[in-house]
Structures are given as structure tokens and as C-alpha cells.
Symmetry: C2
Subunit: 171 residues, 2 copies
Amino acid sequence: MNDPRVPHGQGGETLLFLTDDQLRQGIEAMFFAYRGFTADPDRILADISYGRAHHRALHFINGAPGTTVNNLLRILGVTKQSLNRVLRTLIEDGLVESRVGRADKRERHLFLTEEGRALERRLSDAQRARMRDAYRTAGPEAVSGFKKVLEAMMDSELRRQYHALREGRND
Amino acid sequence: MNDPRVPHGQGGETLLFLTDDQLRQGIEAMFFAYRGFTADPDRILADISYGRAHHRALHFINGAPGTTVNNLLRILGVTKQSLNRVLRTLIEDGLVESRVGRADKRERHLFLTEEGRALERRLSDAQRARMRDAYRTAGPEAVSGFKKVLEAMMDSELRRQYHALREGRND
DNA sequence: TTGGAATGTCAACAAGGCTGACTTAATATT
DNA sequence: AATATTAAGTCAGCCTTGTTGACATTCCAA
């Protein structure tokens, strides 16, 4: 901390000396960037008196149509009571459809209605626009590093889910 | 979206074609990574019945000792009423000291007490440890890209504040 | 001296987390 | 067949942390 020098190259590139201040900078970058990350959808949501929780539900149902409630609350990392409150309003408002499972009738499979897809698109358009601008500003190599660090920052269970979501999608 | 090809090199590296799915991946990475980012301090805070808001206040007072309340709420992006509730408990619990300004006696300058510094250190040690691991796993080039993208994701006002925090610190 | 800024406080409210207890239905297990 | 477990939903109550609005105090500056 009193020695901000970074002796790299010594012992290979994997061993790098990181000062507390360098790490603090990363922490603050995450804090401020996350604010920007949520700012655009938050503005849209505020107008229609929905919250971030609704956005998250719409996002993941859109990404995995037919997902079960149990599945969804594992991804979101909330209790079923908390998710249920959000889900109920989305179903009542006709944005989400809940279908009884065919194989296992205890399960409910969740789908976006046409209206739900429209809102999801509106929200994610705003969020993607910011992401696209950031990616373009930073350049392709930066994007690759960005994703590497974010992935390394996840808990292993979250990382597993993150990868599971990719499978079956064209990326 | 139907054409996941990425024609890069055409028109320089700044013009890159980004599919919706590529951007969605980045969005989900931010979501899951932020969960990891806050997980360790959250666990510590839960034990002592404080919340994330207390952590944020401690973090920024630690980084800019003597900062005013107005300053702090601009950085945190919350109302003074919201900040005040958190600040009051921190002062009552002897973690933060509020000194009346010498030049302008309306202002209160905020400092961490010894106990406050101890908690801040405990929280940020946990958060820095995860950050350090992530940085080491991803490597120095990835870290540079990570910071570039995060910075590009901030609102301009947030980016201004982010840089202002660096000045006067040895990074 | 008066206007405005900085701060603090009270009250009320909402979103969105949580726990715990309980029901219903369906599936699994023994 | 009886029993246990699982998925989902619901109700009640609690907490944190955000919001508005109204108002008091203090003090600087024009």
C-alpha cells in the first residue's frame, strides 16, 4: 500500500502485484457502471410503476421460455414468496402466461405473452443500446477482457448458471 | 439477429457488428457478476444487522475523509433523507464522526472513527480479495479491458465523479 | 436584513427482500 | 396402498432502503 510499484514479468504474467488502491478503483468502477447499466430500463419501469424485479423476471422468461418457477427463482436468487409477488402482477397484467406442466402437473411453465415480449423488448433495447455503445467505445479486445473478469468474479454456482443460459442460444 | 456473423476489420476495429445475443450475454454477465461482487460484504453485514447502504457510506467516507453530506449523497445517488437514516445509525454506533465545518459551519464533515475504519477494512478486505482473485484469473490485459468497458458504461456525470475520486490518491 | 443554501427531522409510503406457517396437488418412495 | 416429498401458491409480518413533502434551524452572502 505504501509501495504502488507493480513488479510484473517477475514470475510470469499470472503473478501480478495488485495494490489496494488499484482494487478499490475496480470496485468503484463496478459500482458506478452498474448504476449506468440499470439507469435506462429503470426510467422506463418507473413510468409504468414496475420495478427492477419485474424487468429481471421478464428478461429470464424471455431468454428461457417455458422455464419453471423453481428454475427462475434459482436464477434470480430470491425466495418464491418474493418472486411470486412480482410474477402475480405480471400474470394479472397479461404480460406473462403460466401453463400447467404436461409431464409434471405440479410445475408451471412460464411464457411471455405478446404484450410481455413488447415490454421486454422495449427494456432490453434500451439496455442493449448502452451496452453496444460501451462495447464500441472500448473496442473488441476490451470486451473480451471485460467478460473474462466478470466471469471470474462470479460464484461458481452463478457461473454454472451463466453458462447454462448460453447453451441452446446462438452466440 | 438472424446473422450472427461478425464482420470485423471492415472499416476499422471501431465499427463492429454486435448481435443482440452477444449483448444479452454481456448484460447477464453484469447481473451475475454484481451478485458475486456484493456477496462477501453482504454476508458480513448480515451478521451485524447493517445493509449495503452502510457499506457504501463507509466506503466513500473512507476514500474521501472530511467529505460533506451533500457531497456524499451526490456520489451515492440517494436522497438526503435516505442517507441520513443510514448515517445516523453509523454515528450513533460510533463508526462515523460528524464535525461541523470550520469555514462553513452549516456543513458537516464526515470521518471514520477507529471502529469505523476497522469495519470498513473488514468489508473491503473481503471485496478486494474477490477482486484480486478475479484480476489474477483473468490477467492484466483483461483487467484493462474490463475497466475500459465499465467506464464506457457510466453516465457522463458518474464518470466525472469516478475520475474525481482518483485524484489525490496514489493509483 | 433578507434570501437562499446546507442540514436535519418527522411522517408516510412503496418496492422488494426475508422468514415462517399452511394448503393443495401431484409425484415418488417404501 | 400408505406415506413422504416436491412444486407452487398464499397469508402474515418484518426489515432495509429507497421515495415525497413539509418544516425548522443555522448561517452565509448579497
